[in-house]
Symmetry: C2
Subunit: 121 residues, 2 copies
DNA sequence: GTTACTAGTAACGTGCTGGTAACTAGTTTC
DNA sequence: GAAACTAGTTACCAGCACGTTACTAGTAAC
C-alpha cells in the first residue's frame, strides 16, 4: 500500500489519511502550532522523533502545503518553520482530537512517559 | 519507536497518536460508522486493506475500547462489529477532518482512484 | 589550528509492517 | 463425497520505515 494510492482515492477520508497518515505528521503540526520555530528547537521539543525522520516529514508536509519553510542564507544556517493557513485550520481539529482522548481516559490510568509534543502554555 | 511508547506519554496528543496512529484505524472507524457490520462486508468495503491487516487493526481497536465485537456461535461463523460510545464520539471529529481536506483541495485537482472507504448515503 | 554551531543529507543496517497463500470448523448444497 | 460458505490464523517473505553514524559549509571563539 503506497501512500500515493491513498492520495489518488476518490474518497475524501482516504485522501485525508494520505496527507496526515502515519503517527508523526499530526504531532509535528501540533508541535509547531502558531509559532515560528527553528528546526533545532522543534527537534529538541520532540525527542522521540529522530532528526532524520523529522526532516523527511517536514519536507512532505511542506510539499502538501501545510507548513512554510523559510531558509536564511546565514552562517550558521537558520531555517524557520511555521504553519500555512491550511495548517492553521487543522489546529482546532487536532485540539478536539486531543480532548476526545482525554475524555476517553477520564476514568483511566494517568500516563507518566516522556512528552513527545506538549503545547506550550 | 514503539506505539506503546506513544501511549505511555504524558502528552495527550502523543497518546492520541498511539491510539489512532497509522493510516488504517481512522479509516476503519469511519468505515464502520453508525452501522453494525460483518467482517466480510467491511473487508469488501475497503478493498485496499488486506484481510489480515484488517483483522489485526480491528483487534487493536477493540482492545482500545473503540469498537465492539460480537461473535455468534453459528455456522458459518458470523461476527458483527460496531462502534462503542467512545468510537461514536470520534465520528464528528473525523467528519471535520474530511471537510478540512475537501476545503484544502477546493481549487485543486479531482481524484479518480479507488475508494477505500466511502460513507454510505 | 581546533572546536563548535546549524540544518540538514548520505550511507548503512535492522526490524517491523503488510501482502499472499494455505488452512481451520461445521453445516448446507450438489 | 466434494465444494462452498465465514472469520479468521499461521507461515513465510518483501519492502520500507526508522535509527545511527558520519559528513558538509562558513564563521566565530579559543
Amino acid at each position: 500500500m503506497k501512500p500515493n494510492q491513498l492520495l489518488a482515492s476518490s474518497c475524501a477520508m482516504t485522501r485525508t489519511m494520505g496527507i496526515l497518515g502515519g503517527k508523526w505528521k499530526p504531532l509535528i503540526i501540533w508541535g509547531i502550532g502558531q509559532r515560528r520555530i527553528r528546526f533545532g528547537q522543534l527537534a529538541a521539543h520532540m525527542p522521540l522523533i529522530s532528526r532524520k525522520v523529522l526532516a523527511e516529514q517536514l519536507k512532505e508536509l511542506e510539499e502538501a502545503g501545510l507548513i512554510l519553510r523559510e531558509a536564511f542564507n546565514e552562517v550558521p544556517p537558520r531555517v524557520d518553520y511555521s504553519l500555512t493557513e491550511n495548517g492553521l485550520r487543522l489546529l482546532p481539529i487536532l485540539e478536539s482530537l486531543r480532548d476526545w482522548t482525554k475524555s476517553c481516559e477520564a476514568a483511566g490510568t494517568p500516563a507518566s512517559g516522556p512528552c513527545l509534543v506538549e503545547k506550550q502554555a
